[in-house]
Amino acid sequence: MSFIAKPRIDHPGLPKNALGLTRRDYEGSMSTLCAGCGHDSVTAAIVEAVWGLAIRPEQVAKLSGIGCSSKTTAYFVGGGHGFNAVHGRMPSIATGAIAANRDLYYIGVSGDGDTLSIGFGQFAHAIRRNIDMLYIIENNGVYGLTKGQFSASADIGSQAKRGEVNLQPPVDPVLTALTLGCTFVARSFSGDKQQLVPLIQAGLQHRGFALIDVLSPCVTFNDHEGSTKSWRYVRENYEEVVHADYVAAAREITVDYAAGEATEVRLHDGGRIVLRKLDASYDPTHRGRALNYLREKLRQGEHVTGLIYIDQKSPEFHEVNNTSDMPINRIPYERLTPGAKGLAKILSRYR
């Protein structure tokens, strides 16, 4: 936390995106999180990713629940729309907003507490409905905002700062999402922007529910010896299995990949996600094998990261529910409301 605002002076060599905006045009208000919190790094990655996609700030809707993580929607894309829901209820707000307006990019930011405890049911149904949003869990294994109680993602044997050891098995959001049929499942680390930024971009362009579980250390309550979510532990025990790069429709792939190393997934907007497998035996388009692989690695105490699973074929929320193409705030009032006579007619159907 800082008392002075980040001064509005730019590096004169700062690159501009297609809209002529710099990264700094995508910042939000000053963070009030603890210095060194992983969540601030995720914020910086979101800024970088949205800037890189040249999305107009007002095309972004930011949604969150309660927690340190959920506070961060105030810290990026200051020009976007925002809704800070009650604890664990962000998915239902998101579902409503998405149903009403499909023209926005939806970024939900939640915590392991917000998602895996009080909001677990909401989370599951958002996945099941395959609503078109990017859902980021800033996962630190504790309730940061309420001073560091174990959350549902705390690993067995992980030690709290006060010394007690967690004995209950964790809920792994990635495994959970895979079993629930999630169409884009990724894990990343707040200390690895090279991995995280393109994943955020891919998730934003994915049609349907994109989950990124970001290991994001709580520097105040869960960064000690004995913690399995500390900066040091995560850094030593994370393994990237598939690296994803998002390439926009108009752009050529400029990175050279060794033959057979990279595969492409075409997105509905014409863009591509280029996947680079770091473990040749892994297949990110096979749900069953992905699950087995993760379980195996979990037993070895590894955090598997990267784009773990992607499915572009399953229908998403709008298709299934035949929602309006036009955001309902642009539909003329007369067309939106049936009028007194129309309403009477509708009601009569139920009599």
Partner: protein
């Protein structure tokens, strides 16, 4: 890249761009902070310690610090460092006690060494300033009837009032300097042979103005109307010249030309033209001197090369010039030039301002003093000793015309050499600068300096009205900053001496500092060669001359923390955001060495009264 050795005082000194660029290494950010606190006397004394003449330099310094100032890279315009110096001088008696009580004093008991200084310009005066407190007896010989050198005889009173000169020169003389006015030295041999002095310092300047030998230069009707610029200014300064013709041509476009044209206006000339051989951009005059002259309606005529003087009807009628055309290459250098015709400019007087040279008619050939092809003495650039041990040079006399602040720095260095020479120590061994670092951390989010970025633009210096200023020859044009202007301008300084100090052992690589830096100075990268690392920084490294800081390898990943010093605004946000205090904001103080440093005072060399 090798990890940066921040223990070397020059590392952090370089980050303070202004102090690094100042020949005398004035501690600029320190005095600017003192001004902001209203501690004007303290600010004055910080200045005086290094540049000796804050009131003079706050008006007429060449300001090499300003083009170097970091604010000029972050924004368009540098901090008005020079004009803030004048604020310290103008207001030094507000709030605090008389600075006179705090000036260096000469001890009553002398050390028995006598030094002769030739010329009473800034170089000699600095030597006296540094040696008097150490117990030396310093004698200054001056050709003219007043001390100050070119500051007195050439820099016009409308830029530098005599009162300011008298005061600051007085502070030195009052230590008991033996000043001998109207005493030109006509033979160095005689001075050396007298055996009176243990060492001699030559600070006689570069007194010879260049002439322009074109047809009719010496025609009897013209000769009294063609003037050598520096001699003419001198004649004006001493009240020998009171008037000039209605139309005046100035040849040359350096700073001397600017003083000549503005002086001519004040002596009654109605039409003054400065004739430049080359286009703008090739002018030697400082931008601000050009601006001030043009504000007074001096016309600057470019691309005219003087050809001959024209005498008609028994008087100087004007000059003929060749009109020039230049072809420039991409980097702005002249590739080709040609004359495209002639032009006549009528005038009553011509003033030649095309440069100065050294001249030492009073130095005999066989004294063991060697000269180079340009009649300049061979002087060691570090010790300022000539080829004859015990004879030192400094100021314009050493390497040709420069400026006051260089003369001062030469004086400091020569004083160090003289002190060592008189102690029988080798002059080549110099006392080294020291470095002191002190944390500015006060509380969780509090720092003992103002770290918020002040978005003000550079303040404009208020001037006396265009009519008013010509009423007398010596009405000072610049009024000095108002209190409000001074406060705003002081807030523009970025405190470059409050350094970002990094401890690689503490860093947990959380990215907080990298993310928060408003100007993208920081990157954590795998190490490589400098040219290669520069391509992988978070924001492009724009200034190859600005150094990169490179840390020791970091604990978790073995990467290194790299900081491009170029645009750092010293806001301290990296240190505020760092959870482990791996970054800290620490004030660096560079201890510049002076004559007394490095040699313990011996009993006869006692400098301070014992309490």
């Amino acid at each position: 890249m090798q990890a940066t050795d921040t223990g070397d005082p020059s590392w952090f000194h370089r980050v303070v761009d202004c102090q690094w660029a100042c020949p005398a290494h004035t501690d600029v950010p320190e005095y600017i902070r003192l001004i902001a606190q209203g501690r004007f006397a303290d600010a004055y004394l910080v200045n005086r310690a290094s540049n000796v003449f804050p009131g003079i330099l706050g008006r007429v310094c060449d300001r090499p610090c300003e083009p170097a100032c970091r604010r000029g890279r972050v924004e368009a315009k540098p901090v008005a460092i020079c004009r803030l110096k004048r604020v310290a001088a103008d207001r030094r008696d507000e709030h605090q006690s008389d600075i006179r009580e705090r000036l260096p004093r000469a001890p009553a008991v002398k050390n028995g060494k006598r030094i002769a200084c030739i010329g009473a310009g800034p170089a000699s005066l600095t030597v006296a300033n540094d040696l008097m407190p150490l117990g030396y007896e310093v004698t200054v010989f001056e050709k003219w009837g007043a001390p100050g050198g070119l500051m007195r005889t050439n820099i016009p009173g409308f830029r530098l009032p005599a009162r300011v000169l008298d005061e600051e020169i007085g502070y030195i003389l009052d230590m008991g300097v033996d000043l001998r006015l109207n005493t030109p030295i006509s033979s160095l041999r005689a001075l050396l042979d007298s055996g009176e002095y243990h060492a001699v310092f030559v600070g006689s300047g570069a007194p010879k103005g260049k002439d322009l030998d074109l047809p009719d230069r010496h025609a009897p009707a013209a000769v009294g109307h063609i003037h050598i610029g520096i001699d003419w200014l001198e004649a004006v300064a001493f009240g020998h010249t009171h008037s000039v013709g209605r139309r005046v041509l100035i040849i040359g476009v350096g700073n001397t030309a600017m003083d000549c044209c503005r002086t001519a206006l004040r002596l009654g000339a109605a039409e003054v033209k400065v004739m430049a051989r080359k286009p703008r951009g090739f002018f030697k005059a400082s931008d601000w001197e050009l601006e001030d002259a043009e504000e007074e309606n001096v016309e600057i005529v470019v691309n005219h090369a003087p050809q001959r003087f024209v005498v008609r009807d028994g008087r100087l009628a004007g000059m003929i010039f060749e009109r020039m055309e230049y072809e420039l290459d991409d980097s702005g250098r002249i590739r080709a030039q040609r004359a495209v015709g002639e032009a006549f400019f009528p005038c009553e007087d011509v003033i030649l301002a095309i440069g100065q040279e050294n001249a030492f008619p009073w130095i005999e050939d066989d004294l063991g003093l060697e000269f180079d092809a340009w009649h300049r003495p061979k002087v060691d650039p570090d010790t300022f000793q000539s080829t004859r041990p015990g004879v030192f040079f400094g100021g314009d006399a050493a390497f040709g015309p420069k400026n006051i602040i260089w003369a001062v720095e030469h004086g400091h260095q020569a004083a160090i050499s003289i002190h060592r020479y008189c102690h029988g120590l080798p002059v080549e061994e110099r006392p080294q600068p020291t470095l002191k670092l002190e944390s500015r951390k006060m509380g969780l989010h509090e720092w003992a300096y103002k770290n918020d970025y002040a978005p003000f633009e550079r303040r404009l210096m208020p001037h006396v009205g265009l009519k008013e200023r010509f009423k007398k020859l010596d009405i000072e044009v610049e009024l000095g900053f108002t209190a409000e202007q001074a406060a705003a301008e002081a807030a523009r300084c970025l405190n470059c001496d409050v350094q970002t100090v990094f401890d690689a052992r503490l860093c947990i690589e959380c990215d907080a500092c990298v993310d928060i830096c408003p100007v993208d100075c920081l990157t954590m990268v795998a190490n490589g060669s400098e040219s290669e690392v520069r391509t992988r920084l978070k924001a492009p490294a724009l200034e190859p001359t600005q150094p990169l800081f490179v840390s020791a390898p970091l604990k978790h990943t073995g990467r290194v923390m790299v900081k491009d010093e170029n645009l750092c605004v010293h806001c301290g946000l990296c240190a505020e955001r760092c959870p482990t205090a791996a970054w800290d904001m620490q004030k660096s103080t560079i201890g510049i060495a002076y004559a007394g440093d490095g040699i313990p005072p011996c009993s006869t060399l006692q400098t301070r009264k014992r309490a």
